[in-house]
Amino acid sequence: MSLKPPNEPSSEITPENTYLNRADFLKKMALFTGTATLLGGGLTWLSTRGRFRQASAGADMQPALVVDEAIAPNTKYDTDEPKTSFEGITTYNNFYEFGTNKTDPAANAHTLKPRPWTVSIEGEVAKPQLVDIDTLTKWFPLEERVYRMRCVEAWSMVIPWLGFPLSKLIERMEPTSKAKYVAFTTLLDPVRMPIQKSSRSLPWPYVEGLRLDEAMHPLTMLAVGLYGKSLPNQNGAPLRLVVPWKYGFKGIKSIVKIRLTETLPPTSWNVAGPDEYGFFANVNPKVDHPRWSQAAEQRIGEGSRRPTLMFNGYAEHVAALYKGMDLSAFY
């Protein structure tokens, strides 16, 4: 019984040295690849915080608004600047009830069920009432208005809103002589808005307010849709406020309560950061945020920055409201 190896010439045998080196090399390649992948992946994940932009569902997926009358554009206050895309408007949002990253609301707002939805109108009015959102939407002819929207974070969009002037609703409610302010409240429901279970970012529910003359201004509107479709959840379905000459955080979303008050109502960002966010929050390139400049903004969808306009470009319509007011003291 021979244990001799097969008849290979001895010159064919891989020298032990090379064999060991090759095995060593392969092992090192494996370690290199494994480490580079794991560490590289970890670094990428940490620096993007595990968030990537979701593709928008698309305008077609959004249900059209059901209305009795045709929607008319009201071009009196429209801007002719290019509109931000539907994708942009619906995937870059601040709606902290669904997470604090810009991509969170689009990803998470599916838990918000905008029907059934009741709005309570209360306070200093002759006719306080609860009204179903679909009923309320039919009370006034809807208009499309193309407004600029400027966030306090120094980015902005141009949005074709669908809605009606807030003044019409207030008139219908017949405010008493004591009414001086309008206070708004967002839904408080940790089931539909799970982040509300904690208050790491803001106290809940989100609240906002306007002076009565600001609320009655023709520019101020309640929006029920955008781009001809009903409001996507992440944009504040089914009812939100739009005040284009103020920073976007004044545009309270998913409203359940509108209350006319005698005294200045609390507003969420002012409560959370009184040195940084005021009640008026008028867009003003001359009054900086304590930590960043408000002189310029990033128009979403554009490459370079642009200068910010006084009252977001609506000065001719609203400057009179603040005549004589020190805008750096009343920010």
Binding site: F32, A36, S47, Y92, K102, D288, Q298
Partner: protein
């Protein structure tokens, strides 16, 4: 049967033969392989992976809507993470007695500087569009930009003196003292981050805690090094 006396004689003969002529080597001794030769290339590759991912996403049009803000955050976080990783190397050596972390310490620090530079350039180019006046007024007026700018500036001498030649020129003691600035840069980076976030401070707090832990380890090591030797021994050495 070999006796121990025979073994001793064999050894003596062997020794004489060795001294007379060295034993010819039958095969080349295998090169003493560096077990960690793959480590630095791996760390370098890993640290450019996020940049590659960013460029790919940019090409595919997948960047965030506010791409300037996203890219700024991206580069800033990478700089901070890599700096913290670099500062983890020496404590790892103390705790685990590993030597490989020291091999990648310099590389990690330089990659941190690389991303800090990209972060700064993005700010200068995209946010401020090279308006020098704007930049200076921002630095003086905005605390968080001043803090960030200082952190970046502190990294520059560290990058310049990162070579072996520089260690020799400065001398080990001076070099070590200078490079303690890495901790200052790290702390300022965390403060810059903290001042930047709008309201949710979770992330800067996490990074700050890690940095505080590393700094704490360093301080603890310094304290125990200063204590006299006799106190450090807990168990007496057996004197048999």
């Amino acid at each position: 049967m070999l006796t121990s006396a025979d073994a001793g004689k064999t050894r003596a003969i062997e020794r004489i033969m060795e001294e007379a002529a060295p034993i010819p080597v039958k095969r080349a001794a295998p090169r003493k392989s560096d077990v960690f030769s793959w480590l630095k290339p791996a760390v370098f590759t890993a640290s450019v992976v996020p940049l590659a991912v960013l460029l790919l996403r940019w090409q595919a049009g997948l960047l965030d809507q506010n791409s300037v803000a996203e890219v700024l955050n991206y580069f800033g976080l990478l700089a901070l993470i890599l700096l913290i990783l670099s500062l983890t190397c020496t404590p790892l050596q103390w705790l685990m007695k590993w030597t490989w972390p020291i091999r990648v310490r310099k590389l990690l620090g330089l990659m941190a500087f690389f991303y800090a530079t990209l972060h700064f350039l993005t700010y200068v180019w995209k946010d401020k569009e090279f308006q020098i006046d704007d930049i200076f007024s921002d630095i003086w007026k905005r605390k968080f930009i001043l803090v960030g700018f200082t952190a970046f500036v502190l990294l520059i001498p560290l990058a310049i003196t990162s070579t072996g030649g520089m260690i020799r020129r400065l001398g080990a003691k001076r070099w070590q003292r200078l490079h303690k600035l890495a901790y200052v840069a790290g702390i300022l980076g965390v403060v810059h981050f903290f001042l930047r976030v709008k309201i949710d401070i979770t992330e800067p707090v996490v990074y700050g805690s890690v940095l505080a832990l590393l700094l704490g380890l360093r301080i603890k090591a310094k304290i125990s090094a200063a204590r006299p030797v006799a106190e450090r021994r807990k168990t007496p050495i057996p004197l048999e």
